[in-house]
Structure formats: C-alpha cells, structure tokens
Symmetry: C2
Subunit: 132 residues, 2 copies
Amino acid sequence: MMNQIKRLRDHGVLVTPQRIAIAEYILKTKAHPHADAVWVHVRRRHPTISRATVYNTLNLFVEKGLVKAQPITGGAVIFDPNVRRHHHFIDEKSGIIYDLPWEAVKVTAERGLSGFEVREYQVVLRGRRRRR
Amino acid sequence: MMNQIKRLRDHGVLVTPQRIAIAEYILKTKAHPHADAVWVHVRRRHPTISRATVYNTLNLFVEKGLVKAQPITGGAVIFDPNVRRHHHFIDEKSGIIYDLPWEAVKVTAERGLSGFEVREYQVVLRGRRRRR
DNA sequence: TCTAACCTTAGATATATTCTAAATGCATGA
DNA sequence: TCATGCATTTAGAATATATCTAAGGTTAGA
Ligand SMILES: [Mn+2]
Ligand SMILES: [Mn+2]
Ligand SMILES: [Zn+2]
Ligand SMILES: [Zn+2]
C-alpha cells in the first residue's frame, strides 16, 4: 500500500522492497509477533529475505518509533505496532498477548515512589481469556 | 546456614551441597540475578558446579515456590526471592531492577476486562532512579 | 549398611539475536 | 540517464540463553 511507503519516508526510513513487506505485516497485525514469526510471514512473498534483514528492519522501526519492542515474555522479544500507551494481558494457556486500552485500568501512585523518575509504565496481567 | 537447609526440606527439596550454595545466594539477594549471574556467584565457593545444575536448581526452586521467575527484561529471565505480590521498577541506565511494595501503587479495573480471568498482575515501571 | 530414587556433570543441542564482510541496491547530482 | 557514494541485504559465523543427554555420583530412609 502506498500509505505504508509514505509512512516509512515520513519516519526517515529509506524504502526498500524488504522494508515494505515487513511494514505491511508488522504495522497492521494484532498478533504481537516475534522476529522469527515476522520472518516466516514475510517469506511467503519474499522467499529470499534473510533473518538478519528482518531483525535489522524491526530494530530500525523501533528506533524510528514505528513499532515498540515489548520484552514481557520469557522467550523472544515481541514487536507491537501499537505505540500508544496501553496494557497487556497474556493468556497463560495459549501464550496469546492481548492489548488492553489505557483506560481499562487505573494506576495510582500511593507512596514510596519518590526516589524513582518514571518515564513509562504498564500493567502486565496474566490469566485465561474467557471462552465466549 | 541451618535454616536454609530446613527451608529446602520443608519445600520438598532434596538437599545437596550445590542446592545449599545456590539457596544461600538466591534466597537472600535483592539483585534480581539471572541464572548465569547465580552461576558466577556460586562458583566462587563451588568451582566445579555446572551451569546445568544452576538452571536445574533455579527451575526446581520456582516449581517449589521458593523463588519466582520474572521474564520482564529482554535478555535472560531473572529469579526473585520475593514471592509475594509486588511491582518492579527498571532503571533504564543501569538495568538494575527495584522492588516496589504492593501498596506503593494502586491498580483499579475500570472497564473492558470482562473477557479476562486475571490470575496475577504487576505494574512494570521504567525510568531513572533518582540520585540521592 | 543397603539401595532405589534422585542429582550432578560435561558436552551437545536448541533457540534467540547480533555480527561480519561481500554483494547489491537506492538516491542524487552531473 | 548514469555514475557515484552510501545504505542495505545476505549467508553464515558468532554470541547469548536455556535445555537435553547419558554416564557417574549422592541422598535419605529402611
Ligand atoms: Mn529465554
Ligand atoms: Mn533475547
Ligand atoms: Zn500491545
Ligand atoms: Zn522483585
């Protein structure tokens, strides 16, 4: 899509076919994928893309503010196109990570935080997504 | 210390010299170390202890409820002797992880959480520890 | 003391991520 | 348009984290 290309340029990212392919997936997904999952996805249309390019590109997108790296699980770092403030719920059975809107949870400092300059925070919740 | 040995037995852990050495460090530290840091520490007195034993032992301690694994940073899982509910502040310059008492922050569910069965949660804060 | 179950170990394997250096591609000005 | 210079891509090596294997050693209770 043309608007992804413009979005890359607007963020100071030099456009290449590999970066377009990665952007088209990572900027729209709700799956919170890790780098290897992005690689598997993007290879469907770009069979020769290397793992190093996927890592390089995702790290570049983080640096440019297009995505956020979320190291909230044990294994691999996951990449999140939602760069606004929000919280995360991790389903312990499936491993699926859900976004929770910032307004879903209210966090209030009570005491004992005077020694800490907080730049950002989030609530990380674990449990089971209820069957619907 | 004798009370560490009793503590291991009380948790159904068969006592060995390696486990005592690991317990003496991990059950008292405030450093939130990862497995390799525990290995480096314990080798000062047990030079032949293997990395596998350190990983096996820490995972056993988690299973027995003596410590909690906290996958809140990118790299290695850290092991925490504080198994009560609490929050974490990560100093982004040094990487040092500080415990925040449960009462330091109040978390209130507001809306949109009806589909989620929450088993546990914590607030993860990042920023800079203020110079005192 | 005897013994069965359990533990420790070195090294191999698996997984996640970065590095290296050579080949290739992109953007710009002539 | 094209040459040029700089950035990007690539395969594979290297590094970091974690688990597995199988042989040998230890623990704790009878
Ligand atoms: Mn891991
Ligand atoms: Mn990692
Ligand atoms: Zn998210
Ligand atoms: Zn802690």
